[in-house]
């Protein structure tokens, strides 16, 4: 059976980008195939049986390479055997399928394969510079003079003997840590590192076929922090629908991070998936849609909520109350909605209301609002609310009792208004308030 291997080599150089741990890399890679192994400081994937699922070789190559790039992996190679892939990755050859395997491997230097590199000096003295030179030596002589590993590794690399690995096991929970290359002073700048962690989490979620509904990003301040800054901070981001869409998650996180101020520079980031639920993907249609669909509306509403705040993206809830202010209240987008059916209010109702009624000037006995008002219909007495008690700022109990006579009034400039005459308390005399508009 032919095999299709990939080798991912985490960069060992001390450059500026944060390093990804091979263990985290292996977890991310498990979304493509269950056959993932860690060996020789690299992560090896066998994807032959996944090619069909990921719509062919080219598409899978693109997916793996794009993901690896986001995780900061640049040394990556494809080959029919794992050791050949690793050797190609080490010298910077991307595609080991370019020709017959022997032709690809023969010109490579000895250092490409660890078991050969171990005897590098002796072999060099024998005049060997490339793998082809070693292969030309008599096999009997090699096996007597060097250990058995050398011949075994060479045969495995050239596909003459089978390879065996212990496959990685997908962890039950996800938590990944990233050491930032430099100190980060502002919360939005954490996004760079957090995005890499989110990509890892996306891989883990895809491998588990789960979606996340809450995840936590924790940051640790470095040792040079001020005393009162504490160890670090964290934010938890929640989504309404389980998702493993990394772009959506990172946009949500970016909106949330924009509102955070760091008390001290941060050095480490830890991302963990807090709430995870099984995820059922939509069926893909064979026939392409005639129009590219926009992002699902609830994802967009969620993002708007993340920027504006929970108190500013609202849905109405109706309650049975005769008082206008309490006929409907507003709650956050994903708050639980009561299941009770509310009866419709009889009689005309305005379409806009003022949060607090606006007291109107009175000229003679007529209320004024942008000129004199013509009272058309009324009065409609609305009374009640003695049962509705609230505690004000000083801790006193106060009843929200109202006794009002509502009128429909017409203004020449402002349209049709819903105004009321206050009946309580009596001593202040008749006072008029604007409460709503029939817009």
């Amino acid at each position: 059976m032919s095999m299709h291997w990939a080798a991912l080599l985490p960069s060992l150089a001390c450059d500026n980008s944060p390093r990804t741990d091979p263990a985290d890399l292996a977890v991310w890679a498990l979304q493509f195939t269950p056959r993932v192994a860690r060996a020789h400081q690299a992560v090896l994937l066998e994807v032959e049986s996944s090619l069909r699922l990921f719509a062919g070789e080219d598409h899978l190559h693109q997916l793996v390479e794009a993901g690896a790039l986001e995780l900061g992996i640049t040394a990556l190679a494809w080959a029919p055997t794992s050791l050949a892939a690793l050797a190609c990755a080490r010298v910077g050859i991307r595609d080991g399928f370019a020709g017959p395997l022997a032709k690809v491997l023969d010109p490579l230097p000895l250092a490409c394969i660890d078991a050969v590199h171990a005897h590098g000096t002796t072999l060099a003295r024998l005049g060997c510079k490339t793998l082809a030179d070693v292969r030309k030596l008599p096999r009997g002589g090699i096996s007597r003079r060097f250990d058995s590993q050398l011949l075994l590794a060479l045969d495995q690399a050239y596909g003459l003997r089978p390879e065996g690995y212990r496959w990685e096991i997908l962890p039950e929970t996800f938590s990944a840590k990233l050491e930032l290359p430099g100190r980060v002073d502002t919360a939005p700048a954490l996004m760079f590192g957090a995005r890499r962690l989110l990509v890892q989490m996306g891989g883990w979620l895809a491998a588990r076929q789960c979606g996340v509904t809450a995840f936590t990003l924790r940051w640790c301040h470095d040792a040079m922090r001020a005393k009162d800054a504490g160890d670090g901070g964290e934010i938890t981001v929640r989504t309404a629908q389980p998702t493993h869409n990394v772009d959506h998650l990172s946009r949500l996180l970016a909106e949330n991070l924009a509102k955070v101020t760091l008390k001290a520079p941060a050095g480490d980031l830890i991302l963990s998936a807090t709430d995870v639920t099984p995820f059922i993907e939509d069926n893909r249609s064979l026939i392409p849609d005639d129009r590219t669909t926009g992002e699902a509306l609830n994802l967009v509403l969620e993002r708007i909520e993340a920027r504006l705040g929970k108190k500013r993206v609202l849905r109405p809830v109706l309650t049975e109350d005769t008082r206008i202010e309490w006929m409907n209240h507003w709650q956050a987008l994903h708050a639980k909605r009561p299941a009770t059916q509310v009866r419709q209010v009889p009689g005309p109702q305005p379409t806009w209301i003022l949060k607090t009624p606006l007291q109107l000037d009175v000229k003679g006995d007529r209320p004024l609002y942008q000129g004199p008002l013509q009272l058309l219909l009324g009065p409609e007495r609305i009374e009640g609310g003695w049962w509705h008690r609230v505690q004000d700022a000083e801790g006193h109990q106060r009843s929200l009792n109202v006794a009002r006579d509502y009128w429909v009034a017409l203004s020449q400039h402002a349209g049709v208004l819903w105004i009321f005459q206050q009946r309580l308390p009596k001593e202040t005399g008749p006072s008029w308030f604007l409460h709503g508009l029939f817009a």
Binding site: P350, I353, G415
Partner: protein, 274 residues
Amino acid sequence: MSSALQWIVNAEPPTGAGQSRPFDVGQLPNRVSQALWRGTELGRADKTVVSSGFVSLDAQLPGGGWPCNAVTEILQPQLPLCEWRLLSPALAGLSASGGHILLVGPPKRPHVPGLIQLGISDKNLVWMAADTPAERLWTTEQLVKANPRGGAILAWLPQARAEQIRRLQVHAQSCDGPVFLFRPQAAQFDASPAPLRVSVTLGADWQLLLHILKRKGALMDGVIAIPSIPGTLASVFTPRLLHPSQLMAKTEVAHVHALGRTVTQPRLRQLAAH
């Protein structure tokens, strides 16, 4: 030579070239006549429209309704004025078929029992209390990009500039629902990339006076008066209340009379003192 002249004299003018007889479109092949548009005609909407619910208004709108795939500007002299009176017939239809009605930065709190009476369901109503101009624009843009199918977006943008509206218009071309932008009347003198601009004022006796500032096709002169009694008030009105302008005129007269009396009283007293 003479025969040629003779031919010219005898020749009849070609069909349709006469000044009295208009060109008959029916002579053209079917495909051509369908694609033909004259400057005096109303433009056709090549996209879907949502009927406004007013026959006289539909007759003046290209395609016969509020356009989808485009932004529509509605200019009002002050901000909460007659939004629901004008749009509720169209929105009620969308809401009944399960579309979302998305409000971005409305000037007052929406009163849902009133909206339900107009046929707008509370199930799919979302109020986004965006305050600053930047928040309003960002939220509107996100929603337009999201393409809420079968729904409508209502955004109040008192301070939007032309290039910002252009950006919304570009996104709206791939949005399947109508997008209404409410702007102040003062914006009518600024250029705007919105393909349809309607200015609304209140008229006498429950009329809304609409002036279409910009539309596809011929310019519109004059105003359209559409009768619209807000909400369910029509069911409780007495016949007298259907003509409030007469009531108001009476009150004005009474007040002028009263004013005259207050002026004349001291004058009389002065006269008596002499």
